[in-house]
Structure formats: C-alpha cells, structure tokens
C-alpha cells in the first residue's frame, strides 16, 4: 500500500514539474502574439540558438529575437545549453528538427561539428542561418555578422596599437580556443600587428571557455606573468570587463601604474560602462547583439516565405544591411567615453 501511494505521488509530482515547465516555456510565445493562445500549426516557428545561456551578451540577443518575433508575428524559441558545449548544442538542434520548426539560427560552438546536423536540416527543408559565429563549409544558407572577423580583428589591433604607441607586449584573451570566430579574429589581429606594428609582441592567448570567473583568473595571471605587459585585447564579451576589473584592482593596490596596461575588446556597453568612465578602457568595439538576433530571425522569415535576400535591403528597426555572397553584415559600433551613455544594452 505504501509503495502504491509512493508510486502515485511520484507520478503526480513529475506531472506537476513538467506542467510548470511547459507553462513557463509557453509564456514568451504567447506574449509575442496575444491573438492566438496556443501555437497554431500555421504560425512559423524559429529556433534561435546562441552558444550558451547566461552571459549578458546572449541575454541582449534574446531581447532582440523576442522583439523580432513580436514585429514579424512569428514564434521564436531562444534556448541553448548553460555551458558552451558543442554536443549538447547539437542535441538541442536535433530535437528542434523533430519539432519541425521553420528555420534555425545557430551560433555554433564548433564550426565543424555542426556539419552533419545542418546537412540533416537541409534534407528536411529547414533553413539554417548562422549568426555571431560562422560554420563555413556546411549547409548553412546565410551568416549574420556585424562585420567580417578579419575587419573586427584588425580594428581591435589598430585600436590597441595606437593606444600603446605601437610598441610592447600584448596579450589576447579569447572565449574559446576552438571557436571559429575567435580564431579568425585573433589571427587577423596578429597579422595586422605583424604588418603594421612589428614592435608589438603577442605574448600569449588565454581562453576562458565563456566562464567569467576563469576570465578573471586569466587576467590576474597575465599581470603576474608579464610585468611588462602593455595591452590586452578581449575578443569576446566576458573578457574586457574581467581584464578591466583586474587592472583597476591592481592599480588600487599599487602593484600597477595607471594606464600602464591598455585594454580594448568586444563587450556590451552596459557591462564596461564604469571602466570606460574611469578611463581603464578607452575604446570598446561592439555591435548590438539584439539587432544581430533580430536580423537572424528576419532573414529566416524571409527565407521561409521564399523571398530574396538582397544587398542594401532595409530591415525595420535595424536599418540597411550589407549582403556579400552568403554573409549579412550589420556593422560595428565604437564605444567611448563620449557615447557610452547612449546605448541601452
């Protein structure tokens, strides 16, 4: 009798849990299109898949994706593993393929590993667009990016080169050593130094795996290991604030002179606002991750309706985009002390 009660209890509890889960999952969808309560089969659904869930950068992207869902009257599911893990990400894409979504926007953790699942998607007639990080040599149809990795990498190298007067040791901080966009950007920066600032030495490249604590520890280690370090480039959203925080603390503790280490990188303005105001970071490069996600949803929706993607096409709330082959570029922004307050993300 006891066992029977227990069995029933277990079942009921599991039911409750799953029910809670499903309502919380549906809310954003319903919010997007109040006219239809349940997801009708005629609504187009898109799965937008960042590298992971948690960092501020992806949270900003989620807002943009949800806004696109409301504007275009489609349903958008925004989900990813909690850590930047390629196999979990691919499992999730496979699950969404069985759900028969109309299109998938992926920021792949591993450009090569997504090949087979993209092929499968193509076989099922599901459009794939990569965003933020590309997977070339796969069946993806478009890549939505702020600018080429080459341009961004060169811009970062140029910024730091000018700040430190073209001479000295520079360290690179990246999110993942295996990630295509990180490799391409850091290689472009290295090439730019070699061509334009031969006196700049890139001493090391450290990776945080998108883990904020690890990025922080990496920055501390850099200052310890390279006392003559003049500059740090952070190639992903979590790196520049970690570097800036560590440098500010070292300056406060008196172990480092102010402005000895220049920092630039890619970071969401709201996260680095204080460091920019303090002058620890002079220039920060960013694009609006929300717009990136917005354009991704827009492109997927155009593809689903069989419409053409043209160069210079006007996208509502984003503006004109540059289309070069299979690449869609939305452009970068430079964040400095003058304009840091004008960003809302």
């Amino acid at each position: 009798m006891k066992k029977l009660t227990l069995t029933l209890l277990t079942g009921v509890l599991a039911l409750n849990l799953a029910a809670c889960g499903s309502t919380s999952g549906n809310q954003p969808g319903n919010g997007g299109k109040p006219s239809q309560g349940a997801s009708g089969s005629d609504t187009r659904t898109y799965f937008i898949n960042p590298k992971s869930i948690g960092p501020a950068y992806w949270a900003a992207a989620e807002k943009g994706a949800k806004k696109a869902a409301a504007d275009l009257k489609v349903e958008v599911l925004f989900n990813a593993p909690t850590e930047a893990d390629s196999s979990k990400q691919i499992n999730m894409i496979q699950d969404m393929l069985t759900r028969k979504v109309s299109g998938i926007g992926v920021s792949p953790n591993d450009a090569k590993a997504v090949g087979p699942v993209f092929k499968k998607a193509k076989g099922q007639g599901v459009n794939i667009v990569t965003w933020d990080s590309d997977a070339p040599d796969t069946d993806r149809q478009y890549y939505v990016a702020p600018a080429t990795d080459q341009e961004v990498g060169e811009l970062l190298a140029k910024t730091i080169g000018e700040e430190i007067g073209g001479k000295g040791q520079v360290a690179f901080m990246v999110a993942g050593l295996g990630s295509q966009n990180q490799i391409a950007k850091s290689n472009a920066a290295k090439a730019y130094f070699a061509a334009n600032y031969p006196d700049i030495e890139v001493v090391t490249t450290v990776a945080s795996d998108d883990d904020q604590q690890k990025a922080y520890a990496n920055a501390q280690n850099l200052l310890q290991t390279y006392p003559d370090l003049r500059g740090i480039i952070g190639f992903a959203g979590g790196e520049p604030p970690a570097a800036a925080e560590v440098v500010e603390q070292a300056v406060k503790a008196g172990t480092l002179e102010k402005n000895q280490v220049a920092i630039t990188g890619i970071a969401v303005p709201s996260v680095v606002k204080n460091y920019i105001k303090n002058g620890t970071i002079k220039t920060d490069i960013i694009w609006d991750p929300g717009k990136l996600a917005y354009v991704t949803v827009y492109i997927l929706d155009q593809l689903a309706q069989g419409k053409e993607i043209k160069d210079g096409m006007e996208i509502p709330t984003v503006g004109t985009v540059k289309v070069d082959g299979q690449n869609v570029f939305i452009g970068t922004l430079q964040v400095t002390n003058e304009n840091v307050d004008s960003f809302d993300f």
């Binding site: 277990t10 889960g21 969404m96």
Partner: protein, 314 residues
C-alpha cells in the same frame, strides 16, 4: 554474505517505480507535444543517449562496489583527442581508434592503480585525473577541434541499420552483455560483496585490489568508447567534449536505483534511469522549455529518486 542475496525482490520493486515514472513522462510528453512520440524523435533520442549510456555501464558497477569515478568526461575527451591526433599524423583511422581506446584504458589503469593498489580515495584520485586530463587535452590539441575523418568512421555514429542508429544498437548489446555479467558471473558477486562489506570479501581470500583495478580499467575503456562514438556522431574531436558528462551519468545511475554507498543497484535500473533523463530532456527541449528550468526539474527528480530510496530501501 546473505546481505546481497536479499536484494532481488527489493530491486524488482524499485524497478517498477522507475518504469512507471518513465511511462508517466512518455505519456505526458506525447500529450504535450505532437512530435514526441514519432519514430524520428525516438531514434534521435536513442542516438543522443549513447555516450552517457556507455559510461553508465561501468559507473553502475563502480558505484555498486562503493566507489565513484568522476574522471570519465576527461577520459572521454582525452581518448577522442588522442584518436584525432593519431589520425591527423597519418595513421589509419581504425588504428587511431585503437590508440584512442588504449589511451582510455591507460587512464583507467592509472585510476585503478592509485585507488586499488594504494588504497587512495576514489573521489580524490578521479577529481585529480579529471583536472589533469582536461589540461592534457588542451596541451595535445592546442584547444583546436580536430575534424575531417573518413566516411567509413562516421558509420558508427551517424548511420542507421534497419531504421535504428548503429550506436544505439551497440549500446543495447553492451548493456545486455554487461547485465549478463552482473547477473550470472562470480565477478558480480564480488562487486556487490565489496560494496556491502569489503573486509568480508578480503577475508574470503578474494583479491579486492584486482576487482577494483578491473572496474576502473573498464571505466576507462568505456569512456574511451564513448569518446569515439561522440567523435563519430559529431564529426569533430574537441577539447571541451565530455565536460560535465559525469553528472549525467551519475544522475542516470542514481535515478536507476543504485545506492550511492554501494552494495545495491542494477544495470537494468540504470538503463531505465538513462531513458528517464534523456526523454525528459528531449521532451522539455521539444516544448521549448529553457535549459534553466530543465536543470531545476532534473535536480528535483534526482532528489525524488534518492528520497524514494530511503523510503523504500531499508
């Protein structure tokens, strides 16, 4: 000695609870999502559960013996990357696979040597290996993913035989084999015995050192196998593969009714536990539930499983 003979009726009852839970999950999701109970989705889930499932086999045995192996995820990545590097250096793909398996076996042997021979704490040793091997992986491949394997190799992880994924068939065969070993052989008696009362087994003249050593070797080998299947499925050997997989493996084992302190548990239970977590995760994915909630639900389920054991077990 009779402590583990009484486990039979107990295990039977517990398995019913687990099966019922699985049944409830499947029925629930098939109502909530029209795509859940489709052949493609089920094959898809089977294809995804293989790596966790393979490692869960030796993990169940090790937990029954009263120990734990936390290094499995790092062994997985280490073997995968060793295989990838061997292939990149121009070796035949199947020789590379064997090198990968040997690498895993070697890691398992190191674990086994330290734990069995020197009687070091299993958790401490395997945490050490977890950290060290993950570091080695980054050293070996410089953090870059290795890809470009021949098509014949992808057969293992991406092809279907009679509509069923090859790797899933392999997993089921392995489970059946291991289940046979754990039911019919003397080896299993020793494993359960060590978990219940190590001293008694030792005084019976049985080499506890050897049994423990074999268990950790098996764990290394199966982790390597999982690594190779993972590479075959994803077409890429990367440094981060297998991160946190030990949590999934141990969750499946515990939900499957294996006692964390050893002495009790079964592979059939683990298999059901495995199905519970993969179907739960898949179902929640299909519904578009954020992973943040998924973690909460999975954790709650684990608590439920453990609580249930206390109620039911003694």
């Amino acid at each position: 000695m009779s402590a583990w003979t009484s486990r039979l009726p107990l295990k039977g009852n517990k398995l019913i609870v687990q099966m019922l839970l699985l049944f409830v999950i499947i029925v629930l999701f098939s109502f909530l999502s029209p795509y859940f109970l489709t052949v493609t989705n089920i094959m898809n889930v089977l294809n995804q559960m293989v790596e966790v499932g393979l490692i869960a086999i030796p993990m169940t045995m090790i937990i029954i013996s009263g120990a734990m192996d936390l290094s499995v995820g790092s062994i997985l990545a280490f073997s995968a990357v060793c295989m990838g590097v061997a292939y990149e250096r121009g070796l035949d793909i199947w020789i590379s696979v064997i090198i990968g398996l040997l690498a895993g076996l070697l890691c398992g042997a190191v674990n086994g040597y330290l734990i069995a021979r020197h009687r070091m704490q299993a958790i401490v040793v395997t945490i050490g290996m977890l950290v060290m091997l993950r570091g080695l992986v980054y050293v070996i491949n410089q953090g870059r993913p290795i890809s470009g394997f021949p098509d014949a190799f992808y057969f293992m992880g991406q092809q279907y035989v009679g509509g069923i994924p090859v790797n899933a068939i392999f997993l089921v065969v392995m489970f059946l084999l291991a289940s046979f070993v754990m039911k019919k052989t003397r080896f299993s008696t020793y494993v359960y015995g060590i978990g219940n009362n190590e001293e008694v087994v030792r005084y019976s003249g049985i080499s506890v050192v050897r049994i423990r050593f074999i268990l950790f070797m098996l764990s290394g080998l199966f982790s390597a196998l999982a690594g190779i299947f993972l590479v075959s499925r994803l077409a890429s050997a990367e440094a981060t593969s297998g991160t946190n997989i030990e949590l999934d493996v141990i969750t499946a084992t515990l939900i499957g009714g294996t006692h964390i302190f050893g002495g009790r548990g079964s592979l059939s239970g683990t298999f059901v536990g495995l199905l519970i977590i993969v179907f739960l995760r898949n179902g929640l994915n299909l519904l578009g539930v954020s992973v943040l909630y998924q973690a909460v639900i999975l954790g709650a389920l684990l608590l439920l499983a453990v609580g249930n054991k206390k109620f039911n077990g003694e």
